[in-house]
Symmetry: C2
Subunit: 296 residues, 2 copies
Amino acid sequence: MFTGLSAFPLTPLAADGSVDEKAFITLVQRLVAAGVDSISPLGSTGSYAYLSREERARVARLAVEHAAGVPVMVGIGATRTREVLAVAEDAQAAGVSAVLLAPVSYQPLTEDDVLGLYEDVTRELSVPLAVYDNPGTTRFTFTDELYQAVAALPQVASIKIPGSSGLTSARVEELRKMLPGHLSLGVSGDGFGAAGLSAGCDAWYSSIGGTLPGPVVAITRAVQSGDLAGAAAESARLQPLWDLFGKHRGALRVIGTIAEHLGLVSAPSLPRPIRGLSGADRAEVIAIVTRLGLTE
Amino acid sequence: MFTGLSAFPLTPLAADGSVDEKAFITLVQRLVAAGVDSISPLGSTGSYAYLSREERARVARLAVEHAAGVPVMVGIGATRTREVLAVAEDAQAAGVSAVLLAPVSYQPLTEDDVLGLYEDVTRELSVPLAVYDNPGTTRFTFTDELYQAVAALPQVASIKIPGSSGLTSARVEELRKMLPGHLSLGVSGDGFGAAGLSAGCDAWYSSIGGTLPGPVVAITRAVQSGDLAGAAAESARLQPLWDLFGKHRGALRVIGTIAEHLGLVSAPSLPRPIRGLSGADRAEVIAIVTRLGLTE
């Protein structure tokens, strides 16, 4: 569940704002066909923070139904613990293999708040949980001490670590020493996927993998077979794509544009107030993914 | 509506996590008795980001019902525009005099997203709207250009500006020149209320005013009568209270503690994952408000 390539599909919307279930199912089926190791709907890329409890339950059920046995992990974050617990219950009823929880906030959270959140939630869980450390959306920064405290809770099986140039093999070793042996370390931030896996992370939690699984599965398999140079070269080749994520405040707007361009989802696919890219920004994304051979 | 002292009451919770309606009504009645100029439930202090649509509609109705004719403004923010529109509809049906909208985010928003949000919402509104510029919770920073674009929309009647030492009379004059003449400028950040009003702001959007209206109404009346020195002296006397807000990541945890200590709400009154203050932190808050004579 917590090793290899975990792909985060979009939750595409229809013109009336409802979930485009047909398009979502197609995305899930593409991931199965591409041989990803797990599927993670309702992550940040899956717009979990914009959907109702009912929509989230439905998406979780559709994912499990169409994953053909590939493990499914869904995001259960919400501003309020009460809502997190309700969504977690729905996800488990849908048959997910794991859940992913970020410390979503409105009021800035303290370390005590966050530890308490994971305590309250893991107490009620029967499936494993991945800790979703995503400061770009939660604006909360985990300390190593908090990693340790949260990792000691029952059901906690993985930490999704924000990718950075600091995620070296020395850092991964340091984390291994301070954290329980069974804990999986996963890297996110697609531009750091190859480096994170090569540094010793168990998993790559990939946004772009939910829409373009081919190249990221290939990079993952390269690392797993010991071809670190090949993985690094392919990731470097995709640098113009990673740069777009930095330019557009994260991966979501870029990936939405790609999925729309490929006809996988209809435009606009993202929840307002988020506007998809338009004009020159949109043209640039399409030009880059075309040039990189990602639209074939 | 958008002048003088607007007081932001808590939305206190009962032990089972539901809204403590009786305590909320008591808070509203205290504000009426204290002579505030308007009441703003469901602001950040009123935990709007943690409540369901139904709870928000109910709180808006209770506020209007018990405000004895004092104008009521409620927060309508949500991560998704669809939800903002639904909450706005409920608020208007409840009979509020105005709504307050912050660009709540999960994915970081662009200026275009935020302008689009205000366009989408004001198009549907029949009551005036105050723009809620609150980077501490939304992590979005308005530029002057965006202030101008949003202020030009129909229904936009006020901007709630984050208080800072930069909110001088020169800055207020600068804002007046660039913004429509009818627009009310309001200061938030209670430690900057006296200075903001003295610098020429029309309104003070006060968190502490929702629980301890006495001192902030007095400061507001002092400024309005031209006694700027008296207002500044009283605000300076309360500096130990303002310092607590800085220490505890905003006003909410401190105000929750004060309201619990005064027996206005039962503990814990705040929505999890937010933990109330405990131990030495709690004792310090109680000691300071007692020493300042605010518990009488």
